[in-house]
Symmetry: C2
Subunit: 146 residues, 2 copies
Amino acid sequence: MHSPKRMLFLDLVLSVFRLNGLLIAEGDAMTEKLGLTSARWKVIGVIALSNAGLTVPGIARVLGQSRQAVQRITDVMVSDGLLSYQRNPQHKRSVLVTLTEEGKSAYNALREVQDPWAVENTEDIPIDELDVALRLVRRLINKFDK
Amino acid sequence: MHSPKRMLFLDLVLSVFRLNGLLIAEGDAMTEKLGLTSARWKVIGVIALSNAGLTVPGIARVLGQSRQAVQRITDVMVSDGLLSYQRNPQHKRSVLVTLTEEGKSAYNALREVQDPWAVENTEDIPIDELDVALRLVRRLINKFDK
DNA sequence: CAGTTTATGCCAGCATGTTGTCATTTGACT
DNA sequence: AGTCAAATGACAACATGCTGGCATAAACTG
């Protein structure tokens, strides 16, 4: 026992926990001036990538979170003017969440800080390694996301 | 612009968020019968790997969390009999956190479910990929952990 | 079409994490 | 020794996530 594979894997798991925390801290620091937090730019990002808007449970499914958690964030963001709820022709109760003009500006501002950050942090990393890592992470996600 | 590297990286970041959530859910499900939660087995794991016990801020540094968060968890775990506080010869106020017998049993039980889980989830993954991914994740951790 | 299952909104309670503040102890430097 | 900065404990406020329960709307099924 104590196969190197097992040790590698457990080490990877702990490292993912650690990296997750650091990435959230990075994101929060990066978007502080924009008045965003990690929970908010995650939501903005998901909506921006959709065309016609998404329902709250839909956003939750994309992010892999509970609909209740997303609902609370979107409620606050609507109050803050970043999002708005639109009537959903497909569903009487479940409204569509869309970006307001302010929300769109926030998304653009987000990209303006995020892109240089991404470039800066990958300068010295070979693209093959990024590719292998991403595919491995995706593989694990599929394994656990059942 | 839209360099593939940048897209890969941002994709990796989002995937790490997702995987983090799934891993916590996996861990919680796995240790449910043991009466543990993710926050608790993280702490137990760190203490078990140390010899003479650790202080609360020491655990926090290892986990990359705030000492307050760790303090609250350890307080509850002491109440529950998993941990105990020991006088610290090196410090008048900052006590050492150690595993009780019950805590040690919990750690052993944890390993008994964790090891097969690790083996099972790496069966079809080449060791080189695990290695590349782990090194990349560590590299990012070092980059952000300043 | 009627009945059942699933999806959604809403509310509550709780776990886990963060930051901030203040007092006290440690430790390091002159 | 004296001073000052860093570390620690304790407490509070808050953000983010989870689950559970309940009512209603939608979707499915016979």
